[in-house]
């Protein structure tokens, strides 16, 4: 851990799904301690339960046993200090971009007037300054996912949960989005839990990577990425970067 204040603590987490025929063990045992302001990736093969883990930390799914605490409080449901970005943008087609970004303010019962400036600031920062009054259908997939990021940040959460947010985007857009995400993170220094199955993406973004095994999931390895920050795409050409990638590929395959 890069700093001493534990922000997210997962202890002895187990998750089983009950289906009509049998119980499916999705997560066998996960321990995590995430420091304040850390950028953490949860890396694993498809279907390994990494999204399930993230949803449990976000209070959106119940756990079977063990405990999850955020800022020393046990998680029992969605938290007001958490922002979530899903795999799909999940924007409301009937709302303009600005109103989509403002949705958490309404659902949290916060005064909208206090957050309009922040919404404009976030849109400006993600290159969507001129699109506040447009509808989602008028934006590309990458732009829509940027709106989803603005929405997750509007209420100034200190924990950002991202569930494979860029997996639906093409490779070039994805590179751009990763750089932008790091830029935003450098600015706000929130704790980020980022679920991905892309090794390069995880190495590029993270302070530490939690590698998950196939189901039933355990954390098979924790890799600390000692690459200098701020990072840009040129770092992907360095031998250090590629050593991390090779190491993680081996870790996932075994």
């Amino acid at each position: 851990m890069t700093n001493d204040i534990v922000h997210v603590q997962v202890k002895d987490l187990r998750k089983t799904y009950q289906t009509r025929r049998e119980d499916i063990e999705a997560i066998r045992e996960v321990q995590m301690a995430v420091g304040q302001g850390e950028f953490i990736s949860i890396l694993g093969p498809s279907g390994c339960g990494k999204s399930t883990l993230l949803m449990i930390i976000g209070g959106l799914l119940p756990l079977t046993s063990g405990s999850v605490a955020v800022g020393n409080e046990a998680v029992s449901g969605p938290r007001r200090d958490t922002g979530v970005v899903f795999q799909a943008p999940v924007l409301m087609p009937w709302r303009t971009i600005l109103k989509n970004v403002m949705f958490p303010i309404e659902s949290l019962g916060l005064p909208p007037d206090d957050y309009h400036a922040h919404a404009h600031e976030l849109l400006e920062m993600t290159g969507l300054g001129g699109f506040g009054d447009n509808y989602p259908s008028e934006l590309s997939g990458g732009m829509q996912q940027r709106v989803a990021i603005c929405r997750a940040l509007i209420h100034n959460p200190n924990l950002l949960l991202m569930d494979e947010p860029f997996s639906a985007l093409d490779a070039m857009t994805r590179d751009t989005m990763n750089q932008e995400l790091l830029r935003i993170w450098e600015e706000f220094k929130k704790t980020v839990l980022f679920v991905t199955h892309s090794i390069r993406e995880a190495v590029f973004l993270s302070d530490r990577i939690f590698v998950m095994s196939p189901r039933p999931a355990v954390i098979s390895e924790i890799v600390t990425i000692n690459l200098p920050r701020p990072r840009d795409l040129s770092i992907e050409e360095t031998p250090e970067f590629n050593q991390y990638v090779a190491h993680l590929r081996a870790a996932i395959e075994h």
Partner: protein, 263 residues
């Protein structure tokens, strides 16, 4: 730019309308020619020109019967919208309510509502109430079914997103499920308004008190086919205007692209 846009919209509408209007005009001319050429009796089929003349000579009579038809139709439609949407929402939000009530709703939907007209007269008399209620029961089902289906079509991921930002049940309904259902509700409104017109006309046939439906039966009794056709023409115009009003309201409210084309 905005003015240009408006202009081009009007021009596009005009371009679209030219074809159908030309064909309609052609059909009317053919009708006129056939009636004259074959010497068809006026009591069987009057010429379009005769119908237009009748509308102008009897405009006071037609207008006097148009108003009750329109107002009772709107009243029945309004009841169907309020009660139908209400029931559709309850069915969608409360699964227990759905499982106990929906089978009854479906069972009642199978009843040909027009056949209830005589029963309504027995129960509620020959007045406005019977006619409004018949329009109501006919327009009611499309409203229930469309509202229900619209709410149920909500993307579960959208609801999960709302929960992630601490939305409660009420917020999810008001800000996610109801707006999501609006395009469906509007297709229900469009079916409902045409059904309400049918309900009123059938009720006017049976109650024989007033209204364009009554006028049609009255004209038929007198073998006054031009008046019958004139009343029919006015009735069609009323139906068109009511439908157009619903479409205009839809355009006003649904400004986003919802990916459905139910017109």
């Amino acid at each position: 730019m905005a003015d240009n846009n408006g202009d081009s919209k009007i021009r596009a509408f005009a371009n679209q309308s030219v074809g159908p209007m030309a064909i309609a005009l052609l059909l009317l001319v053919i009708w006129q020619v056939i009636v004259i050429a074959f010497g068809v009796k006026e009591a069987i089929l009057p010429t379009p020109w005769k119908i237009i003349q009748t509308i102008f000579t009897h405009w006071e009579l037609l207008l006097a019967h148009t108003w009750p038809t329109t107002s009772e139709c709107l009243l029945g439609f309004f009841l169907a919208v309020v009660i139908g949407m209400g029931l559709g929402i309850l069915l969608a939000l409360f699964p227990q309510f759905h499982s106990s009530v929906y089978p009854l709703v479906v069972a009642f939907q199978v009843v040909p509502k027009v056949a209830l007209a005589p029963l309504f007269i027995v129960w509620f008399g020959l007045g406005t109430l019977s006619r409004v209620l018949l329009a109501f029961v006919i327009a009611f089902f499309p409203m229930v079914v469309n509202t229900y289906a619209g709410i149920l079509s909500t993307d579960p991921l959208m609801v999960r997103m709302a929960h992630a930002f601490s939305a409660n049940r009420w917020t999810v309904f008001c800000k996610i499920e109801f707006p999501n259902a609006l395009p469906y509700i509007f297709s229900g409104l469009k079916i409902g308004i045409t059904f309400a017109v049918i309900g009123i006309i059938v009720a006017e046939f049976v109650t024989a008190q007033r209204g364009l439906g009554y006028l049609i039966v009255f004209a038929e009794g007198n073998i006054d086919t031009p008046l019958l056709m004139a009343a029919l023409t006015v009735l069609s115009l009323v139906g068109m205007v009511l439908y157009a009003a619903v479409v205009a309201l839809e355009k006003l409210i649904i400004t986003w692209d919802h990916g459905q084309r139910l017109n």
